[in-house]
């Protein structure tokens, strides 16, 4: 157990617990975009900024999703400086992805100016990398990641081409905070639009429902050494 001061109150953090997790446990709301409990935090979006100091040292601003509680830490999640910084981050993100509902929701919470202060970029992605972390750490496919750097930075398949290791599971579609990874599906194929990855579907031998991309079946067999006929019928018919 680690004792820290959170918004003026002494609280106990678990060993290795981040300030974001601790605050959430204490009922304190911190806005986040790139955080997901299933994957390692990388502090990419900067929405979750807090102010902290050690042993009465200088106060620093940092991302709470990557800040691990240490004895004697003093943290502010609600100070003027914190809100000012979060607001700037949000304004920059809104300039990058204008009109995004999730960002507008955060803006309403924080009174960030809706009239843009920075030139609009009309992108749809904030380059937080959550999709890639989930694809690697949860799915295990490592199909997408960052390419280039600086102003050229982008996320997608290797060399920004259609990712051949993508199994079309849709995990990235589900976690993207900007909701910019779309999935289209019909009886024959499933397409992850943002990655330009189209996969033929496998139909259940019992009910005929297209329940899984063929390629996903092949990968599952390779990864988990599943029996060959395990994926001939869908989960519903297997019950």
């Amino acid at each position: 157990m680690v004792e820290i001061t959170l918004n003026g109150k002494k609280v106990e953090a678990r060993d290795g617990e981040t300030i974001l997790d601790l605050a959430t446990r204490e009922g304190i709301h911190i806005p986040t975009l790139c955080h997901h409990p299933a994957v390692e935090p990388t502090g990419a979006c900067r929405m979750c900024l807090v102010e902290f100091s050690m042993n009465n040292g200088p106060k620093k601003i940092t991302s709470s999703c990557t800040l691990v509680a240490e004895p004697g830490m003093v943290v502010e999640t609600d100070s003027e400086r914190v809100h000012k910084n979060r607001k700037s981050v949000l304004e920059l993100l809104m300039a990058r992805v204008p009109g995004n509902p999730e960002l507008e929701k955060l803006a309403k919470e924080s009174d960030a100016r809706l009239a843009p202060r920075f030139p609009e970029m009309k992108e749809d992605c904030i380059l937080c990398g959550l999709c890639a972390r989930v694809c690697e750490e949860v799915v295990g496919a490592k199909a997408i990641f960052f390419t280039n750097r600086g102003t050229e930075l982008d996320v997608g398949g290797p060399f920004l081409e259609s990712p051949e290791d993508c199994i079309g599971c849709g995990a990235c579609v589900y976690v993207c905070p900007m909701d910019c990874i779309k999935m289209e599906q019909n009886a024959e194929t499933r397409k992850i639009v943002k990655w330009d990855r189209e996969l033929p579907m496998r139909k259940c031998e019992v009910c005929g429902y297209p329940f899984m991309p063929n390629f996903q079946v092949l990968r599952f067999k390779k990864w988990a050494d599943m029996p060959g006929d395990y994926f001939k019928i869908c989960a519903d018919c297997r019950k």
């Binding site: 890639a132 490592k142 199909a143 990641f145 390419t147 280039n148 750097r149 290797p158 060399f159 290791d165």
Partner: protein, 157 residues
């Protein structure tokens, strides 16, 4: 098709060490003058790493080129010190003489023009490197002379 014998040799030299990707890519570029896609895919296959890992590294560092480059690499320093001493004019002059832009290769395959941000020899600025040879305090009027040194076939210099 690119001959990959050299790539296999390089990878063997690192005994399949997954953490040596960067060194392997550098060695590959030293041999081929750029990173051929086939060579990178061989690294993926032999080291059993993901294609995304190799592609993110290969595109992160400006020192790597994914396109074939010329016989001679002309690198113009655009760092702060060189910049204030006239590097943009030197680059303009080189691009004009070559008829290609930054990051491009002349049609005869002799030269590729590139830029870097400081090579740590600021006192010599403006600075142009050709194949790693430093040409310091270069004036736009000296560009022709420097480039001509590399136009001559070997042995005739």
């Amino acid at each position: 098709m690119v001959d990959l014998t050299a790539v296999d040799k390089i990878i063997e030299g690192y005994h399949g060490d997954k953490t040596a990707i960067l060194a392997i890519l550098q060695d590959i570029q030293a041999v081929y003058n750029y990173l051929p896609r086939e060579a990178m895919m061989r690294v993926v296959e032999k080291l059993q790493v993901s294609t995304t890992q190799v592609s993110s590294l290969a595109t992160f560092f400006h020192a790597f080129s994914l396109k074939p480059r010329g016989k001679n690499i002309v690198t113009v320093c655009m760092g702060t010190a060189c910049h204030v001493r006239g590097a943009p004019r030197v680059l303009d002059e080189i691009e004009r003489q070559m008829g290609v832009k930054n990051q491009e290769t002349t049609p005869d395959g002799l030269f590729t023009v590139e830029t870097v941000n400081c090579v740590g020899a600021c006192a010599l600025g403006p600075l142009v490197m050709v194949n790693g040879n430093y040409h310091g305090n270069i004036a736009t009027s000296e560009v022709t002379e420097v480039l001509d040194q590399y136009r001559k076939p070997a042995g005739q210099a």
